[in-house]
Amino acid sequence: MTKYSGADIGFLLVGGYSVHSYMTAVEENHEAILEETTVLGDAWESKAFVNLRQFAMNASGFYDDGVGASNAALVGMAGNSLVACLGFEGNTVAKKFLGFEGPVQTTYRRTATRGALHKAAADYRGSGKLEEGLVHWPLATVSGATADGTRVDNPASSALGGSAYFQVPVLVLGGYTNLALKVLHSSDDISYPALVSATVVTAAPAAERVAVTGTVNQYTKGQYTFTGAGTGQSASIFIGFKRN
């Protein structure tokens, strides 16, 4: 058993923006939708699960008008459906993260108070799934032409597909054509076919969730590649994968 704290929040990525370093609190909650089934003659209320779930999320912290900072990530986004990822156990391969398929930002609040720094906060309502996956490429800056991440070893293969989460807060192509992000998988840790790919990225911020069906082999890993040729390329990337 391990306890975690705010110091273990490895990342909060919303629509390709990395905002955890501006936030002081983040909360998610998900619930099952119930219908009351109490009828005449019952002495106690009864409810039934209607096979429907929903989630909500909110984040609050400091207002910052820098490039890619909290205001840029939150202003003008109300009504938008975004892909979000929260690393609540740290920023390390195989640690758990929460993947939000399509939270819609419902509110953005900016608060100014005498004797205090300005604050910023946003609320999101779920549209789609809330999933608990594993980090495959921790949020980090990369500058090589291509590389593979550390493998994640599942006890066995699975047959129900999964979902990959890709986030790119910063991208400098340096003459390269685009940045390709993938999740690979393997049965023997020797050969690795591609399992799922993001749409190639040509500008940041960018975020995408891609679902895959069928077999997911025992070993999985993230991979990035700058396609083409150039110099001085770099990117901040995150790759996560949820095995169904």
């Binding site: 090589g144 291509t146 593979d148 500008a203 991979q223």
Partner: protein, 101 residues
């Protein structure tokens, strides 16, 4: 008879160095950067896929055995995964056009 030839159907990476393969077959942890992985794109013909991988790669539709060639196919040497961009492959690309916005 040479080694069987396969057509790549899904982008595939694997090591070809016999020493690396021997270490992997011995379940020795080999860092990725030491594996000398090569990458092949869909459409390429190869004959150096690690033999223990072939059954599951065929089963999962990553490879298909080439049986309809009258002449020796032109095999493609894969490019190392680490440090080398993928341009220059003769195979197709699975990458869709356009970027994420």
């Amino acid at each position: 008879m040479g080694r069987p030839t396969y057509r790549i159907l899904v982008e595939l990476s694997y090591p070809t160095d016999p020493a690396v393969l021997a270490r992997l077959r011995a379940h020795e942890g080999v860092p990725w950067e030491e594996r000398g992985m090569v990458v092949h794109l869909p459409g390429e013909l190869v004959a150096d896929v690690p033999e223990e991988s072939v059954p599951w790669l065929l089963e999962q539709g990553v490879l298909e055995r080439v049986t309809d060639v009258d002449t020796e196919p032109e095999l493609v040497a894969g490019a190392p995964v680490v440090g080398v961009p993928w341009l220059g492959h003769s195979g197709g690309s699975e990458e869709p056009a356009g970027g994420i916005s």
